[in-house]
Symmetry: C2
Subunit: 519 residues, 2 copies
């Protein structure tokens, strides 16, 4: 029996001759729970065609295929969908406008990391990555099926997403040299690929890793295209890109732990137009029965995140000095969840995007999350073996993940999604969760005016380091107060229950927070 949110797979024998990828148009309709979904099948090689579907309701599901090849047309059947497996909550969707929850309603608080090309490394490294992730605080990873050509990323992947590879007599070293080893990459003529023929073996290996991620509770934020490419996968042309997308969605769309990211740094695809991106997004929408989350990530210029197909903002900070603190503003502007998916990485490489301290990385997480957004980690320490986590995975050696785990726990303990206090306070950020209390007063330090209080309030001081702070709590409520050291990961309760004007002593160190929980 197929569990709810699991994968039902239909494997059908069919023609091997010609180009089955291009020439066989296989779809299927699944109906159950009073609803009907159309999905695409895909060719898995060796004369085998597959159709996958992930049921989101228990009970009987029926299907019928349609195909331009008679032997694959009109095949029908049914299967039973049982209870979801332990820990399986279904795909993540937008919840309460600015947040996320699984299909079964379970709150999902994304705590992301980045390893763009981890599946393009050898099996041993991939195993190391999975092992690292299984112990890390992250529940989402930004990653692409494609290999990466960039600084610290010049190795050849173990296999390719399409048939083909290096031309006879060519070496990977020559390809790297042709493509340019620095930022400026171009497609190398050392390769020859048949973009009309995806490589089923590649995709089976990739799916295996998706499944492994699912088992350790991690969402794969799948980057469908990226520009750091010497193989040509970013320059296949619109039609082949659409074919690739249909294939990928058909193969992977039934995995419940995936999100679609149309691109990493879409604006570095200098030959692509907005029309190309819109067409690609429409292709994903068309074939994705599960309606997974969709976004598109920028380099220097945001995509228009108000486009209807975009479910949440996947933001790379544009200004080097001003970003995390804009989270509430971006929420307001787009009316969607904000995932700050690139905000520099903990590390010590030469590039400004990859050499912030662990303290700064953790600060940015707090700055974003106390403003009602979500943040993504990455690690870029210079290593002799060139195994930088942000691209290749491997091991984490930084100091931020432990602190991010601590933050995740604090956010998960909140009685609901965390939204920013409105109006904001000029020098600290406030996250509010749970019930709102319309009491007279203003918690703002010596401020005026009236704003609501909340059952759960978290004040973050970031780089500031006061030795005390005065809070104006509501008169009619009693709060427990904790002083939180976000770097040293301690929670120190303030004695007693508190109402009205309350002075909280602080240790005059940066990175402190104060939590208020109403009795």
């Amino acid at each position: 029996m197929t569990p709810k949110y699991g994968i039902f797979e239909l494997a059908l024998p069919g023609p091997k001759e010609g180009n089955p990828f291009l020439e066989v148009d296989l779809t299927a309709r699944f109906s159950g729970d009073g609803r009907e979904f159309k999905v695409s099948g895909f060719y898995d090689g060796e004369g085998v065609y597959k159709v996958r579907f992930s049921p989101e309701a228990e009970g009987e599901w029926r299907y019928v295929t349609a195909c331009n090849v008679p032997e694959l047309d009109g095949i029908s059947g049914s299967f039973a969908c049982g209870a979801a497996e332990e820990g399986s909550h279904g795909p993540v969707q937008v919840a309460e406008r600015f947040h996320f929850a699984h299909a079964d309603g379970t709150r999902f608080i994304p705590v992301g990391t980045t390893a763009y090309a981890w599946t393009s490394q050898d099996d041993e490294t991939c195993e190391m990555t999975i092992d690292t992730l299984s112990k890390a605080p992250f529940n989402k990873i930004r990653m692409s099926p494609f290999p990466k050509h960039y600084l610290y990323n010049h190795n050849e992947p173990p296999c390719y997403p399409f048939e083909g590879g290096l031309r006879p007599g060519m070496t990977a070293e020559a390809a790297v040299e042709q493509a340019g080893a620095d930022f400026a990459s171009s497609v190398s003529p050392a390769y020859e690929f048949d973009f009309d023929r995806p490589n089923p073996a590649f995709w089976r290996r990739f799916e295996g890793y998706l499944e492994r991620l699912g088992k350790i509770g991690i969402q794969a934020d799948l980057i469908l295209f990226h520009p750091y490419d010497r193989w040509g996968f970013s320059q296949m042309g619109r039609e082949r890109s659409l074919n690739y997308l249909r294939y990928v969605v058909a193969r992977l769309g039934a995995y419940s732990n995936i999100w679609w990211s149309m691109a990493n740094e879409y604006d570095l695809f200098f030959t692509w137009t907005e029309e190309d991106w819109e067409a690609c997004a429409a292709q994903v929408v068309k074939w994705d029965a599960a309606n997974h989350l969709r976004s598109i990530h920028n380099c220097l210029k945001f995509y228009d995140h108000s486009r209807p197909w975009i479910t949440h903002c996947s933001i790379q900070r544009i200004a080097y000095h001003s970003h995390a603190e804009l989270t509430a503003q971006w929420r307001e502007q787009y009316g969607k969840p904000v995932a700050v998916d690139e905000i520099c990485y903990e590390g010590d490489i030469d590039c400004g995007w990859g050499n912030i301290t662990a303290e700064e990385m953790v600060k940015r997480f707090w700055d974003v999350m106390t403003r009602g957004g979500y943040c993504t980690h990455g690690e870029t320490y210079l290593r002799d073996d060139d195994l930088l986590w942000w691209a290749k995975g491997g091991e984490l050696t930084g100091e931020s993940p432990a602190r991010i785990a601590f933050l995740r726990q604090i956010m998960e303990e909140a009685p609901g999604f965390v939204d920013p206090k409105e109006p904001p306070e000029w020098d600290v950020s406030w996250g509010y969760a749970g019930e709102r209390f319309e009491e007279e007063g203003n918690i703002a330090f010596r401020g005026r005016g009236q704003v609501p209080y909340a059952q759960w309030m978290l004040c973050y001081f970031s780089f500031a380091r006061p030795s005390f702070r005065i809070f104006n709590l509501p008169q009619g409520r009693k709060y427990r107060i904790d002083v939180i050291d976000t770097w040293n990961m301690t929670v120190t309760p303030v004695e007693g229950l508190h109402s009205g004007r309350t002075r909280v002593e602080l240790p005059a160190r940066p990175y402190m927070a104060v939590r208020f929980v109403a009795e």
Copy 2:
């Protein structure tokens, strides 16, 4: 003989009766060096009228008075102006559009601090302040003649700028309570002042301190009005404010070490209009023969710094998270020198403007100065004796002044004024000084395009902490390179002379800089 940039003072007996401040309109014309200046005289009490003038050229100067009182009218004479005293370079003026120099051409690099009301403290504290300043790295101080009513500032000054004081039977404590001890201050009815009668004893004391500052090489950036006031000096009305300004300019304008700041936080004067400010500025311009520097400082909204009377931008950062890095942009916008005169203070008080770390304070100095601006320090450590440097002076206990001294030395060693590299680099700031070299290339890390190089180039990494960086030096020049630890105050030369692509090893700590000096 009056030295150049010194003060020639004419003291004349005149009427005591009535209100000499209001009723006697005394001016004088000074001519010498082929030029003529008109200044205002002022009443110094006890029937004595004074006229002051600071000659900026050696030789004979002649004067003649004009007055509505016959005994003070038409008095003429002359005096000889000799060489400037050792270390006396004349008033500071704008130089090379974005910078400052003394009248004799000596480069002046402002390195400011803040002690708004230090002269409103008792004599002992004032002595302590002078002593502290004599050992500190600062050559400019933001200060007001007026006392201050604000957090950590509730004491009564030892004397008042106008005749009057507490009404009989009233106490300072009662006045503080009436005015409100927090942010929200209002004028207390506990006082009665005659705003038509400046208090000469007050101003003599104040001048004494200006002179002492001059002797230790410090420019007094005089804040003529500020809103933190329980005495009523910010609310005298336009006419009395203009009279006060004429009096102050007449008394103090001959001191070569003063700058005029029309206001601290002009936009918190809720009853003042822009017309009021313009009228006040015009009054200063009218009576200031020395044409001292003029600015006006904001709280939440910049004044229009493009107004012709404004010589330089005196900026309080508006956004809490984004400021120092805007320096080059502000220069561009206003075409004037940029003094970032409030950018939070090293300290640990409860307010966000007063609890940054010393590291952050020093970082902001470097962020501003490597972008061609100037920065102002302040210190706000909580103390049992309430003696917070930023307002009352006293002693400095913070860790930033030593580092600011180090920075000052580095900037003074530059072969000229420091301007930002154009175009800027996204992740680091670059200050350029000395000769520009139009060589092919771009120093920017792995960047493209062409920008000039300079004889002296200073790259600042701020919070980033790379373990190395590659610089593309011009092929046709040889540079000495120093790695500078701005926090630990070390300068470590890189061995050899360097051209072309050059990799510089760095210690993977924040707050590093690299200096390049062409042979």
